[in-house]
């Protein structure tokens, strides 16, 4: 962990909708800039690199891009794409925010679910979308994930889930909090039935998502350098009035403390995922 990686983080990054790939508008072709080393890339070039910069930083990618990169060609079938949220609490500004997020992400909600093959290993899959209100979990995300685990149980499929989230979505209040219990219940039933659940943590995975299905995988892997935690770093700093240790809440820190199984660079993620799925195929699994 290099020092600049710790200090580059804007204090409010989760709350502002996240640090995304910045686009340099001064050139004719919008460039993708690495937020760590500031190298610039032509979009097509960095896409080929799976958004991993030469400096090793794993940039964020959209949920669709991640599915493209994980799933075998044409193997992904989306489920529950038609579900979308309302504004259950008539929370100030939430309708506009939802509309903006739909436009920005071109998705209906903060998670995409479906079935896919990963190197010919069939599975149920969910991928969260950071461009949709920082992948926050409200009633729709909770409903889609619950349905996916129920579907996987019924169809005897393993579940591969990629998390990226600022946590529970505060604009849906207590209903968002309850989604943590709802999804956890579905994961538990699926798990008790023998289902294999692989969690892939990506940057950032925090709050109520960490305190529920992100930490409930049979095997939990993470991309290098991902921020993973329950409380936000700023809140902790204010609470304890101490400087946080270097690399705090990074994937490497979590592995050191025993909370994740393995850190896998994006270039190897598909192979490792398929290998783990193959090791769980057959046997007594559901």
């Amino acid at each position: 962990m290099s020092l600049p990686m710790i200090f580059r983080k804007s204090k409010n990054e989760l709350e502002k909708g996240g640090r995304s790939m910045s686009v340099d508008v001064s050139r004719e072709v919008p460039m993708v800039k690495c937020p760590v080393c500031t190298r610039s890339y032509i979009p097509d070039d960095i896409r080929k690199e799976k958004y991993v910069c030469a400096c090793g930083h794993h940039m964020r990618m959209s949920a669709r891009q991640r599915i493209d990169f994980l799933a075998d060609k044409d193997s992904f079938t989306e489920l529950y794409a038609d579900l979308f949220g309302s504004d259950p609490l008539q929370f100030p500004g939430y309708r506009e925010k939802l509309e903006q997020s739909r436009n920005k992400s071109e998705e209906q909600e903060g998670v995409i679910c479906g079935t896919a093959d990963i190197l010919r290993q069939p599975c149920a899959v969910f991928v969260m979308e950071s461009q949709f209100m920082m992948g926050s979990m409200g009633t729709v995300v909770g409903e889609k994930l619950t349905r996916l685990f129920e579907y996987a149980m019924e169809h005897h499929l393993p579940v591969v889930g990629c998390t990226v989230s600022g946590g529970a979505r505060m604009q849906e209040g207590i209903l968002s909090l309850m989604q943590m219990a709802k999804v956890s219940g579905a994961v538990k039933r699926y798990s008790d039935a023998g289902g294999f659940y692989l969690t892939i943590l990506t940057d950032p995975t925090t709050g109520g998502v960490t305190a529920s299905f992100a930490m409930e995988g049979d095997i939990i892997i993470s991309e290098p350098g991902a921020t993973i935690g329950f409380a936000g770093a700023r809140v902790i700093e204010q609470t304890v009035r101490k400087k946080l240790p270097a690399g705090f809440q990074k994937a490497e820190f979590l592995m050191e403390h025993g909370f994740i199984d393995k850190i896998v660079p994006r270039s190897k993620l598909k192979n490792v995922t398929a290998h783990l799925l193959a090791l769980h195929a057959g046997g007594t699994a559901i």
Partner: protein, 272 residues
């Protein structure tokens, strides 16, 4: 009629009875049991065994403490991971010995600290959510003051959830919500209203089954009310099988929020 934020202040009031008052007021022969058997004993989480009309029960509470000295000792009721692990240990014991579990919740939230993260605050809460959903014994959770986010929910996956009239249950503190959304913690008033965190709101959203009246702060009256309600609840849960109970518990949480999820009706379907 109090505003939402006035209720938040009421819920946080140091004058309010804390978890240990409810335990000693409602149950006989409470014996505290310490420790998570893994790391330490979290003083913000208090638990043990007691008797309810001759029936052994497991009782748990987040505990804020009664005076400044005790509040510091109790970490102001904000548990670390070992607190949730102690709670789960005692709940698993309750399952083994067929004791109902009664949880009281009064916490601003799980503790936000360096050690808490090092020891897996998120993992500890997540594990409780999973395990409580299938714990083979009846669980009742009563929110008596602050119900702060995941730190409260970690004792909240129950067959029924009750909330005291002036208690609150929220995904985030109104101050936190206001400072994140509007960059202004002073708008906590508006945030409290928008979050729908009062007892009535929480019941209306089907997150709680009952609002327990506070009789203008007459604690004995509150205890009397709870005695009657707990009696009824005990009769109800002991008259159904554990499978029925677990099915209902799952369905209870499974249903929360679903009514607000809409489905796009595609134009093709319209044509048909």
């Amino acid at each position: 009629m109090k505003t939402a934020y006035e209720r938040v202040k009421e819920a946080r009031s140091v004058e309010r009875p804390t978890g240990q008052d409810f335990i000693t007021g409602l149950f006989k022969g409470f014996i505290e049991l310490h420790g998570d058997r893994r790391f330490s004993d979290d003083t913000a989480m208090l638990g043990g065994l007691a008797k309810w009309k001759g029936q052994a029960v497991t009782v748990l509470t987040t505990e804020k403490g009664k005076d400044t000295k005790e509040r510091i000792y109790r970490n102001f009721g904000a548990p670390n991971p070992e607190g949730y692990r102690k709670a789960l240990r005692l709940m698993k014991q309750a399952e083994k010995f067929g004791r109902p579990v009664i949880c009281f919740v009064d916490t601003s939230g799980a503790y936000c600290g360096i050690g808490a993260e090092e020891r897996g605050q998120g993992q500890a809460i997540a594990e409780n959510l999973m395990e409580m959903m299938t714990l083979r014994t009846p669980i009742l959770t009563i929110l008596i003051g602050e119900g702060g986010s995941g730190g409260a929910l970690a004792l909240g996956v129950a067959d029924e959830v009750w909330i005291l009239e002036n208690a609150v249950y929220s995904v985030i503190s109104p101050e936190g919500c206001a400072s994140i959304l509007w960059k202004d913690a002073a708008k906590a008033d508006e945030a409290a209203k928008s979050l729908h965190l009062t007892a009535e709101d929480v019941k209306e959203l089907h997150v709680a089954e009952k609002v327990i009246p506070e009789y203008d702060g007459n604690f004995n009256a509150i205890l009397e009310e709870l005695r009657g309600q707990i009696e009824q609840w005990m009769n109800k849960v002991t008259s159904c099988t554990i499978e029925e109970l677990l099915e209902k518990r799952y369905a209870r949480f499974r249903a929360i929020g679903s009514e607000y999820v809409k489905e796009i009706v595609s134009s093709q379907e319209d044509d048909r």
